[in-house]
Symmetry: C2
Subunit: 214 residues, 2 copies
Amino acid sequence: MSEYSKTTKNQVKRIPKRGHYDQKTIFEILDAGFLAHVGFVVDGAPFVIPTAYGRDGEVIYLHGASKSRMLTNLKEGIPVCLTVTHLDGLVLARSSFNHSMNYRSVVLFGTAKEVDKEDKYDALQIISENILKGRWDEAREPNQKELKATTVLALQIDQASAKIRSGPPVDDKSDYDLPIWAGVLPIELQTSAPETDPLLKEEIPLPESVRPFC
Amino acid sequence: MSEYSKTTKNQVKRIPKRGHYDQKTIFEILDAGFLAHVGFVVDGAPFVIPTAYGRDGEVIYLHGASKSRMLTNLKEGIPVCLTVTHLDGLVLARSSFNHSMNYRSVVLFGTAKEVDKEDKYDALQIISENILKGRWDEAREPNQKELKATTVLALQIDQASAKIRSGPPVDDKSDYDLPIWAGVLPIELQTSAPETDPLLKEEIPLPESVRPFC
């Protein structure tokens, strides 16, 4: 499958031309981030929890403490909605009404199940590598006690869509003559210089994983 | 009320010391952002949609096209969970297990109702000012047709909590002797130089609202 079917759940209804259903676009947006907002229902009420993730094919891995409310609920196989949003800019139009944002987002639906003990290590590595490539091999790897204290879930993507807006504002024709500045204020997540742990005991150089951000 | 009660819904269960329930902390986190992830339930299934917001006291304003699925569902008064997350950094510990993130997040619960016609303009202004201060007065204000095409919701905060992590990694005692670099890679949303709309018809200077970002 290289494209998700449009359903009542994943179809982009407002401004349909911004909707995308192909896996290439959806996976690119997922792989450009590592923080998702996960929605689930408990006793009829919605919960939205920010959490890290990693992707392997059509599976999203989530992890956390074994006692986490989100994970204990999700591993029962209840419906999940996972959303990833990258904000790319404020779109400043001539009219208030046509103000917008540039963004890339994915909304996906599926159900999760717990990852078996023997696959946990690999799944955690996928999440770690998605957050900061190379760090997994630098850090002390998890021991048996730590693996036991960690629950990892595999969320199978059943339905998904992406929504993208980019480019300059689009104003009403008659507004282009107004003496009002219009344009885009670009926004992105940026890193700044790494801060060494004050408790670092000896002169340890910055590792490979962090050096690109210096 | 200056503090929200702890309930089964809003209580921070994992690492309770990171939980905050006072309005000052919660409102500061809300006011530091303008993009929320809104969770709601339709036919038993969760939806999580990214959307802009503004705050006035204990009310969060949301807006969108009148035909929006999210808004048409929310205005019926169904339970809503709204989450705002600021990512502040990657926390790189000596062990994989103790890796974390620095963040400030708010998870709030409430129900929304539609803002009356006569209050719509003010509510839209609150959202706009929260996204980019000063822009409302620069842009052409909404006309009657545009106001009619826009639905604005007032989401009353019933329950809320904040969760905050900051500072360097915390490792197991025995790991501090390992020759592994540890520290924090700070992350924040940053703006870059404003991009003028190529269709701007005359030499219009950058407005007040945007100048601080140059």
